[in-house]
Symmetry: C2
Subunit: 224 residues, 2 copies
DNA sequence: TCAATAGTGTCTGTGAGACACTATCGA
DNA sequence: TCGATAGTGTCTCACAGACACTATTGA
């Protein structure tokens, strides 16, 4: 049997934190005006794109290109989530390779396309993007519980209280300051940047930075 | 830009335990005799196959079909590993969706295509299958450390000493009997089958079975 | 000085790991 | 009875979590 070629897209789920809440990047699809066959017109969808075999040497590079075209920025961290195949829309059998990606709020030019997680989960998204979104949220929550992943939701410099807050937002649980700092310390992934952040009429907090970009550490034990 | 269709294969890395050693399933590719353009003739390769959009409704179903065609058996457990894209062989830009799969030795009709891990890692496999194999081994080792995954390398009924042995083989570390049993107990995944296994002139060991098929439990903590 | 948050020290209960013990089989 | 492995009980040390304490700022 001769193999049949397939249409394949890359569909990233991009997370950030805005106003103390986890948000996901979603773009509105075209209206029916231009093309009467447009699938899921006006629906919100993940910021995906088709692989271009002429310029994309690998899946990771395809992801970087697509995200930079859609957002004008580079994400702090990404990893492959899962691939989905089947009759996912009206155009036949297609393949989607999904990613999760984290970006710091500072890199965002506009907050227009960012939707709070809770809202996004209640929307009906294009294609099977609800399934992908839910798997992405699940992966994120899981991984936050045993790794330093949330560092990549912050900027180049960050304080430990900020980092703890991000963990608390995603895990939906308050953490003990002392234990939390011990855990982060043992990861040996960050170092003081030498700067401080003054936030008000109280002791300023030390700013830290990653020793190496793009890496994460897995704790030997879950946080909660 | 019009999307370009791609050729896509499913490439499972199937593990089993034979004679106390982890093995992986590899098939020899065709010789040049039949087709002078055959890529990687006579090389060993993962037991992959092309997706057939006419009969495969999803990637998981495609995997099941391909594995059953190659082995005549159904695996005990599988999960998606990672997708790879690029100019992976002479035939142009192709996509591979890899899986890891576990099967119990009892299900094997022949041991012909099973290669010990250590040997397989030293071979030069077809395409980029060395990369896929190494990622699969890494995922397996990682996951064994914090989950009940190894249960699926055993048959329907198994003893705790057998299970501990499998952990020790993959982790390459001896484990304390008492602690190990506490861990498995707390997973609440298995129950006595009511039978016993007599192995010699000593106390027989109780046989256990999974309460539900195909499931795994994640411990909150790494074993080693 | 106070209020507020940052950051550190201390104490205690839990529980994992080390290891000793009992159980059960065939010979 | 003995030798071998299966399975259970116990004890202890480490360490995570609770929480109290000190540090530093602006007003």
């Amino acid at each position: 049997m001769k193999p049949i070629p397939l249409f394949c897209s890359i569909d990233p789920v991009v997370f950030t934190i805005i106003n103390g809440k986890l948000h996901v990047l979603l773009f509105k699809r075209n209206s029916l005006n231009n093309n009467p066959n447009e699938p899921f017109p006006d629906y919100l969808a993940l910021p995906g794109g088709a692989i271009n075999v002429n310029i994309d040497d690998s899946l990771d590079l395809a992801l970087s290109r697509i995200l930079s075209e859609k957002t004008g920025a580079t994400v702090n961290y990404f990893e492959q989530l899962e691939s989905f195949g089947g009759f996912r829309d009206t155009r036949g059998w297609t393949l989607s390779i999904s990613y999760i990606a984290l970006i710091s709020p500072q890199k965002l030019k506009s907050t227009a396309n960012w939707i709070p997680i809770k809202e996004a989960q209640d929307l009906i998204l294009a294609f099977d993007h609800n399934i992908i979104l839910n798997k992405a949220i699940q992966r994120l929550s899981n991984k936050v519980n045993y790794s330093t992943l949330p560092i990549h939701l912050l900027g180049d410099e960050f304080t430990l209280p900020q980092l703890q807050k991000v963990y608390e937002i995603i895990l939906n649980e308050t953490l003990d300051k002392s234990s939390f700092r011990k855990k982060i310390e043992e990861s040996n992934l960050i170092e003081p940047s030498g700067n401080e952040l003054k936030n008000g009429a109280f002791r300023p907090s030390k700013l830290y930075k990653l020793k190496k970009p793009g890496i994460i550490h897995n704790f030997g034990k879950n946080i909660i």
